[in-house]
């Protein structure tokens, strides 16, 4: 079973979704929860079986699809993708379990299971074409979720979401084809395997062009400033579950792809574009934080805050050293947990009051104390308080980038402060003061169905903040091998200097051990 566990993880939910069409309507939730629970258990098993000491790919599967062009069904996980896969399985489970009763419940659950296949596919794929297929397929269920269950502007939002990301992906596809072409030029054989591509050393000017092509696809997905305007609409119109999955997992595809493709394939271009991207990331952090401060809709606050934190992930990634990249990968998990939880929390009051305007609320802490407590924990995690999950990632990301540029990191750090302002202001508006609106006086507190989703998230947010090692360790090993690969591949002097050489530090450390 271990040999094919990734394939099972990918196709089991899709297969279950097929069978789901014949399941009776009133038992569909139980069916969905069971499937997602099995899937989550499988993902936990994957984590359990994963050897943290190995830095390379594990559980690899390979099956030639179009041998003439070197396209094959190639899967594998390393420390970078492992936890995002677990997170994807986890969020699908709690997403289905906490789903409020809605129209066309069955369609929703089956769509979510299908979406799960595409998400895990993206993170497990090691062949560029397979990756691309899952990447694009993931748009379909999300488009359906926003378009069918969304708010009044759902058509505009879903079309914008689809066209925007699709345009980016097409440019990325062209980049992939060119990459394969250059690989063919250099070696004489065709291959779309990312691992094969890793070995290819490209001249800098080609790297620059290819980097830009990939960048466009990834940056729109993240979404980076100034490509972010589709996201507030998507979040604003999507139902709770759509926002949760979008923020927690789908956006991570972009940042994950930077680590998987851009950095190891184009180390010189990464160094070349480091500062421009850092500027974009910092604009994104500060600017979206300010936009968040101006929002009157609680969900938009959470949406913009989610974008703002994605900026820190980008910054950490382009620190191009172990602290930065490991921090950013860890922050991907953290961001998934925290923003996913915040969207779920916003869903709780939306379901009760059918409004998301903060002016409609106030004083909820007296009416819904449990809800306020959980929201408070997540707000604190979101502003990056130590001993919550976000702090570790944010701190490492900033520490990593500090080694590249001091001023930039200082500017990014300002976001830490601004971040606290808008979150606390929103928290105050919704939860504190007198209950001014009579409609809020008798709101029921969080119910069991909602707690099933929220309590595990609270536990994770604190557990990984206090003891991040189980996750950080495997991430670190894999990131080290990527950084080393980048250093060795780099052609320009500047890139060699910017990307640390880990073998030398290892030698020094060993020397130190000896002298001791």
């Amino acid at each position: 079973m271990l040999d094919n566990i990734l394939s099972i993880l990918i196709f089991f939910p899709a297969l279950a979704a097929m069978f789901g069409f014949v399941v009776a309507k009133d038992s569909i939730r139980a069916y969905g929860v069971t499937v997602a629970a099995i899937e989550f258990a499988l993902s936990l098993f994957l984590w359990y079986a994963y050897d943290p000491a190995v830095s390379g790919m594990q559980f690899m599967e390979s099956l030639p699809l179009i041998p003439a062009f070197g396209i094959s069904y190639l899967l594998g996980v390393d420390g970078i993708s492992l936890f995002i896969i677990v997170l994807a399985a986890f969020f699908t489970l709690i997403g289905i379990a906490s789903l409020p009763d809605m129209k066309r419940m069955k369609d929703m659950i089956l769509t979510l299971l299908f979406l799960q296949m595409t998400m895990i596919g993206v993170f497990a794929a090691l062949d560029a074409i397979v990756f691309y297929v899952f990447w694009e397929l993931s748009l379909v269920p999300m488009l359906y979720i926003i378009g069918a269950w969304g708010g009044p502007l759902r058509i505009y939002a879903s079309v914008k979401f689809f066209l925007y990301t699709f345009t980016g992906s097409l440019v990325m596809l062209v980049g992939m084809l060119f990459m394969a072409y250059f690989y063919h030029q250099a070696t004489g054989t065709w291959s779309f395997s990312i691992l094969e591509w890793y070995r290819l050393i490209l001249p800098e000017n080609i790297q620059l062009w290819l980097f830009v092509a990939f960048f466009l696809g990834f940056a729109i997905k993240v979404p980076m400033f100034p490509f972010h305007t589709w996201l507030p609409y998507a979040h604003g119109q999507a139902p709770t579950i759509g926002s949760v999955i979008l923020a927690a997992i789908l956006l991570k595809m972009g940042t994950y792809a930077f680590v998987r493709f851009s950095l190891p394939l184009f180390p010189d271009a990464s160094v070349f574009f480091m500062m421009p991207i850092a500027v974009l990331a910092i604009i994104m952090i500060i600017y979206t934080a300010m936009v968040a401060y101006a929002q009157e809709d609680i969900k938009q606050v959470v949406a913009y805050s989610s974008v703002s934190h994605m900026g820190v992930i980008i910054l950490g990634t382009f620190a191009l050293n172990v602290e930065g990249i490991s921090g950013s990968v860890f922050l991907m998990i953290a961001h998934g947990v925290v923003s996913g939880a915040l969207f779920l929390l916003v869903g709780v009051i939306y379901e009760r009051r059918h409004t998301k305007m903060m002016s409609e609320f106030g004083g909820l802490a007296s009416v819904m104390p449990h809800y306020a407590t959980i929201f408070g924990v997540m707000v604190m995690a979101s502003v990056g308080l130590p001993l919550t999950i976000n702090f570790v990632g944010e701190f490492l990301s900033l520490l990593g980038f500090y080694q590249q540029s001091h001023m930039m990191t200082l500017l990014a750090g300002i976001a830490i402060i601004v971040g606290a302002i808008y979150m606390l202001a929103a928290f105050k508006k919704v939860f504190f003061g007198e209950v001014t609106n009579e409609k809020n006086r008798n709101l029921p507190d969080v119910n069991k169905r909602e707690l099933v989703a929220l309590i595990p998230l609270v536990i994770i947010a604190i557990w990984l903040g206090v003891y991040p090692k189980p996750v950080l360790g495997p991430i670190n090993n894999s990131v080290e091998s990527i950084v080393q690969l980048m250093h060795e591949k780099a052609v320009t002097e500047e890139a060699k200097a910017r990307i640390p050489d880990l073998t030398s530090t290892i030698v020094i450390n060993e020397a130190k051990e000896e002298t001791k």
Binding site: T229, M290, V291, A294, E323, L396, L424, Y467, P468, N476
Partner: protein, 628 residues
């Protein structure tokens, strides 16, 4: 033995978590559970701290206890463990934090007894204790930062404890934000230091060992940035504005924040980094200068306040200024000594004020009090002792610690700072006795049904009064016939300047004289009858409005930020970024429309296109043929 350090930190956290869970799950039927769990935690931590202190007292001054709980973040170079250490400085901090903390817990059990959210209160209270102990016991600056931030969190929770009133939450947010500004300086300082040290083990000990290899300008930068953190936590100019507003919390919270915990963190941090500040005395002088300005500034404001808690709040800020003068000028042990004595009398003052407030059914304006000494005898006596102590009247505790600071300022040759501090000493006596006279003497009001204060609230006052009176005797210096026990126990690397005994006597005399002048002025103006001040002149109204600093910050920062935010949202994001996108879309649409026009299904148009195409091709061919 060292594993005790883990328990000292862990017990308050555990009890906070336990009480929080019990409270949330609704098993909050009786107060007894919370009272016992709540008070037991600081008490146990305190007992363990005494063991630690005993151990350190018996061994030589450079013995440091270490214990590692677990590895926290380990990434290549970056290896941070959750580890604790205790040296003699830690032991002193531990002692008064847990001792006074326990007393405040007992007092709070009386003060809060009618509150619905009793369990929540004690949960937050112990979280506060745990955070502070974590900060004090940290073995490396990163863990210290964790405690530092958690203290900020718990103060946020406690200041906003009465959350039904939005005003309190505003105060809580303000405290959290200003602390975050400071924390930002702190964490940047740590990053600079970490990268400069090239990731060698990042504990206080190893930093101390390697500090000599660093550039002085870099150390100065780190020192300044760290002090930004201290400005936030210890409420110094310009980040102090949260402290007076922090009075929004229940009175025991004020006592805890102002006396034993939180605000002392900044002073402790500077003393902890004394090895770093000793390398850059000019940064220390800057710190002392900020301290002196804060001391004087706050004392001035305190002299015109009418709210009993606000007076005490500004007095805290002012006393903190003294402590920063001391640690800035390298008199670390005098600074910590003042932290120590201040903890006693300030806790007492707040708890006494809380007793008065409860007795008068939540009246805080001192001009609505008066003549209370007949009704609240015990509170009056204890607060009198505390006032004597804070004003620096010998032999009460404040005299010795304040005198040591003033002597250090004089001896270091910073006469400007010394003069400001001496002037502040007079103002301190003035505003403190002003408060005391107005509340307990002055023309009495008629009071109806003053409740009997519970024992829980009164006997901690007595214990603290004994402390306020005699704590100073621990650190009597040679000039007054003591042996300077406190300084020699704590063994900090003071940059000491010798003064002759005669000079010390003269300085001491001057201090007492200043305090007596202040007291006399207060007596003359307020002891018999007191009228609420009115801001009739420019200067008076300036001081009464706290120099309009809050308003200035509001205009300059809060509103600007708000405006920029709205502009970013409504203009840049909506019209700018999305506008460009829509421009593309409309361009695409126009092009589409254009092409639909072309493809109109009429044959004669198509014939025209064919003709045009042939014409262009012929021209091209002609062109190429000519070239051949």
């Amino acid at each position: 033995m060292s594993t005790l350090l883990i328990w000292i930190v862990l017990i308050p956290f555990l009890s906070a978590a336990l009480m929080g869970l019990v409270y949330l799950t609704g098993l909050r039927s009786n107060h007894l559970f919370y009272t016992i769990t709540g008070i037991l935690a600081p008490l146990l931590s305190g007992l363990f701290s005494l063991f630690i202190g005993w151990e350190l007292l018996g061994s030589s001054a450079d013995v440091v206890l270490h214990v590692e709980a677990f590895q926290w973040i380990a990434l290549g170079d970056f290896d941070i463990a959750v580890a604790f250490m205790a040296d003699r400085l830690t032991a002193v901090m531990l002692f008064f934090i847990t001792f006074i903390g326990t007393l405040i817990h007992i007092y709070a059990a009386g003060y809060m007894s009618d509150d619905e959210a009793y369990g929540k209160f004690f949960s937050f209270f112990n979280l506060f204790m745990g955070s502070m102990l974590l900060l004090v016991l940290a073995d490396n600056p990163i863990i210290m930062f964790v405690g530092w931030e958690l203290v900020g969190l718990s103060s946020y929770l406690l200041i906003g404890f009465y959350h039904q009133d939005a005003k309190n939450i505003k105060a809580a947010n303000k405290a959290f934000m200003l602390n975050r500004v400071g924390d930002f300086g702190f964490i940047i300082a740590l990053s600079v230091l970490f990268i400069a040290l090239e990731g060698d083990a990042f504990t206080f000990e190893s930093i101390k060992a390697n500090i000599g290899f660093l550039d002085n300008s870099l150390i100065a930068l780190v020192g300044m940035l760290l002090f930004v953190g201290a400005m936030g936590k210890s409420a110094q100019i310009p980040l102090y504005v949260w402290l007076p507003d922090a009075m929004a919390g229940p009175t025991p919270v004020s006592a805890l924040i102002h006396a034993a915990t939180m605000v002392t963190a900044g002073v402790y941090m500077v003393a902890r980094f004394s090895f770093l500040y000793n390398e850059v005395p000019e940064v220390g002088e800057f710190i002392a200068l900020i301290g002196a300005f804060s001391a004087l500034f706050a004392a001035l404001i305190a002299s015109y306040q009418s709210d009993i808690k606000k007076i005490l709040a500004y007095s805290t800020m002012s006393q903190l200024g003294y402590m920063f003068i001391a640690v800035g000028l390298g008199a670390y042990s005098s600074g910590i000594f003042h932290v120590f004595t201040h903890a006693f009398f300030k806790a007492l003052l707040f708890m006494g004020a809380g007793a008065v407030i409860v007795a008068l059914h939540h009246e805080q304006n001192i001009f609505k009090m008066g003549g209370l000494r007949k009704h609240l005898g015990l509170v009056y006596v204890t607060m009198f002792i505390a006032t004597l102590a804070i004003s620096g009247i010998p032999p009460f505790s404040g005299f010795f610690s304040k005198d040591a600071i003033l002597a250090a300022a004089f001896a270091s040759g910073n006469y400007g700072i010394w003069m400001m501090a001496t002037l502040t000493a007079m103002l301190t006596a003035y505003y403190m006795f002003r408060m005391l006279f107005i509340v307990f003497f002055a023309n009495g009001h008629e009071y109806s049904n003053i409740p009997v204060l519970s024992r829980m609230m009164t006997w901690p006052l007595v214990v603290l009064a004994v402390g306020s009176a005699f704590a100073g005797l621990l650190g009597v210096n040679e000039a007054y016939g003591g042996s300077n026990g406190f300084a020699s126990f704590i063994a900090l690397p003071d940059r000491s300047h010798q003064l002759s005994h005669l000079a010390e006597y003269m300085l001491g005399f001057l201090n007492v004289l200043m305090a007596l002048i202040g007291t006399g002025l207060a007596y003359k103006m307020f002891a018999v009858s007191a009228k609420e001040p009115i801001g009739d002149t420019f200067w008076k109204s300036l001081v009464m409005h706290k120099f309009y600093i809050d308003e200035l910050y509001d205009r300059l920062i809060v509103r600007t930020l708000r405006m920029l935010s709205v502009m970013s949202d409504k203009v840049i994001d909506n019209k700018g970024v999305d506008g460009i996108l829509h421009l593309f879309v409309s361009g695409y649409k126009t092009a589409g429309l254009l092409f639909t026009r072309l493809q109109n299904g009429k044959v004669r148009y198509y014939a025209l296109y064919i003709l045009a195409g042939i014409a262009v091709m012929s021209l091209l061919m002609l062109d190429t043929m000519e070239a051949m």
